[in-house]
Amino acid sequence: VNDFAVPVLLVEDDSMVRSWVHFALEESEFRVKGEASSAEEALQLLEQVEPLLLLVDYRLPDKVGTELVRDIRLLGLSTPAILMTANPERGFNEAARDAGAQGTVLKSGKADELLAALRSTLRGESSFDTRHPRRDSGETALSPREREVLRLVAEGATNREIAEALEVGSETVKTLVARTFLKLGVRRRAEAVSVAHGRGLL
């Protein structure tokens, strides 16, 4: 074990991906010092792990990753953060940057790509994966279902409550919330509600 390795807090709900990241970093200057499978768990681990880097999945069970990064920034912590997704998502880099993240990386299974993003970010450079298409310059229309999600978010509903209200599964809710936030160009619930009011969507 390298005692001088850079401690990384990994926030990812998929155990296979967590395991891969652990091994991918094994022979590098980085080490996964803490693993969380939800945003809530990540916030609890922050003090204990004292990470120098955060590697955060976008689609978490309780929040989207940009919300978590924003929450961490509001705590006054500037620990560099990289957001991960499996799909290339339009507007993802802009949403990550707006939330206070320093980079994004696609879950491609390539250790070199992950390590390059971690190294750039640790050096203080930004590292945004260019495979995510740029955000549309105009406002993207929300679908009826996404507007319904927005209405429930405005009422303070959690992802679980949204799933119950729409009679859909947890994975579907994660997709709906993530797409709604990316279309609005927001990173957290309060901001989504504010933007929605501003645009007359609620």
């Binding site: 998929d14 296979m16 991906v17 395991s19 891969w20 091994f23 991918a24 094994e26 022979e27 689609r59 499996a86 799909n87 879950k107 491609s108 299974g109 390539k110 250790a111 679908s143 009826p144 279902r145 507007r147 319904e148 429930l152 209200a165 729409l166 009679e167 994975e171 579907t172 997709t175 709906l176 797409r179």
Partner: protein, 84 residues
């Protein structure tokens, strides 16, 4: 709370986005562990990687089976009675 009706197009887009995500995540794990097996000289990786690859492949198979079943059920629902 009543849910807004989702259009066919919206449901299709959502289903494709979910399918892509639910397949890409285990696929990334398979590719990742295969790469580690090919490039790292580690006894632990040789022991763990095949198990993780199998686990990820099984997750993909389950996902495909579940989605195909949904598609077949949806298609069956759309067949008019006189043609059923």
């Amino acid at each position: 709370v009543s849910a807004a009706p989702a259009s066919d197009r919206e449901l299709l887009e959502q289903a494709v986005a979910e399918l892509a995500h639910s397949l890409r995540t285990p696929l990334a794990a398979i590719l990742g562990f295969a790469e580690l097996l090919a490039t790292r000289d580690s006894e632990q990786i040789r022991r763990v990687a095949p198990l993780r690859i199998q686990e990820a492949a099984e997750a993909m198979m389950r996902e495909l089976d579940a989605r195909l079943e949904q598609v077949l059920e949806a298609a069956a629902d759309r067949v008019p009675d006189e043609q059923a």
